[in-house]
Subunit: 203 residues, 2 copies
């Protein structure tokens, strides 16, 4: 089911240049236990990947244009410092955003996945935001906004999970697996913000 | 609807000794926007408070004895360092846990609430864990476990929200309001962990 990833600017999943995550596979196993993530969730995420594959563009457009664009303290993070639009930046990060939906559903949650989770996290902080796309924008996205916006994503993904006519029980299970994965990823995204080695003040 | 809080050991909501939160009411308003928390959620949380009022003990017992007790890396945080049970510690923190469910539903999200959110957060870190109850236990609860366990609480609260025979649509709205509040609170609980003023290494 794994489709080859088309050329996506700045998308470096599995690349040698991605450093090893400070989060271990043992940490990940414990997180999966704490969040209640099971082998059944892997199966239902794979199904979600099939269901969402041709919807990622409209999902990301809805999140970006339908929601984030209307919330100034969120919208500014993909704009210039004076508020001007940066269409190329938005387009590039949207393509990675789309791919992240598929990676959530299809990638094995292994060392490569952990490494790229850390890379995604760091790209939200002042350590690396803007650098991938060579833009001048806000220096970081506050951790608190990443944490809370997940709830909006969780609420709005459901109709997309139901869009291919699956039984309500299957949609429920896809949705529960999605929410568990999201919260697991939020924990991983919090790592650099809470890491005194970086000394960030970006809550 | 606000019932007087019975004497709960270590429960100091609104007390003068609670420091002002470093999180401002402006931050809170922005977080509410980011998570999609509206006045309708306040109404449905109040309804949830009525529904849950006589169920808090069984809910907390389920979380503690039914789930956390079976996950060693979580259970250890209410035990002694050699793993022995600390029944008084557990009983005291469970009573506060119960009250927190009601506070989630009934308290206005104002400065007192923000201050106590920060107090709860700090009591999970090495700054203050164990001190309220004068026990010797693990020095802190890792931020990552707090983040992910919320999903389990969100999943398991739903039957309790439905237990008083409300229409499915009302249960859905209570549940959505609960999830938004939980994620808002997770953002607030992350604050001390991500605050370089504390320099914690407790992800």
């Amino acid at each position: 089911m794994q489709e080859p990833v088309k050329d996506i600017a700045g998308y470096t999943y599995g690349a040698q240049e991605i450093p090893q995550s400070p989060v271990s596979l043992t940490d990940l196993e414990q997180l999966k236990m704490s969040v209640g993530f099971t082998d059944e969730d892997v199966i239902y995420l794979a199904l979600a990947g099939e269901v969402l594959a041709d919807q990622t563009r409209s999902i990301v457009d809805h999140w970006r244009s339908g929601i984030i664009a209307g919330i100034p303290h969120l919208a500014r993070h993909s704009r210039g410092l004076d508020g001007q639009a940066l269409p190329d930046y938005l387009a590039r990060s949207n393509r990675r955003f789309e791919q992240w939906i598929l990676d959530t559903c299809r990638r094995p949650y292994d060392q490569d996945w952990l490494n790229y989770q850390q890379e995604i996290a760091v790209r939200h902080t002042s350590i690396k935001k803007n650098r991938t796309d060579q833009v001048i924008s806000t220096p970081y996205i506050p951790l608190r906004d990443i944490i809370v916006f997940i709830t909006v994503m969780n609420d709005t993904i459901r109709p997309h999970l139901a869009a291919k006519g699956h039984a309500v029980d299957d949609v429920d299970k896809m949705h529960a697996a999605w929410r568990r994965s999201m919260q697991l990823q939020i924990a991983l995204f919090a790592k650099p913000y809470a890491d005194p080695a970086f000394g960030l003040n970006e809550w």
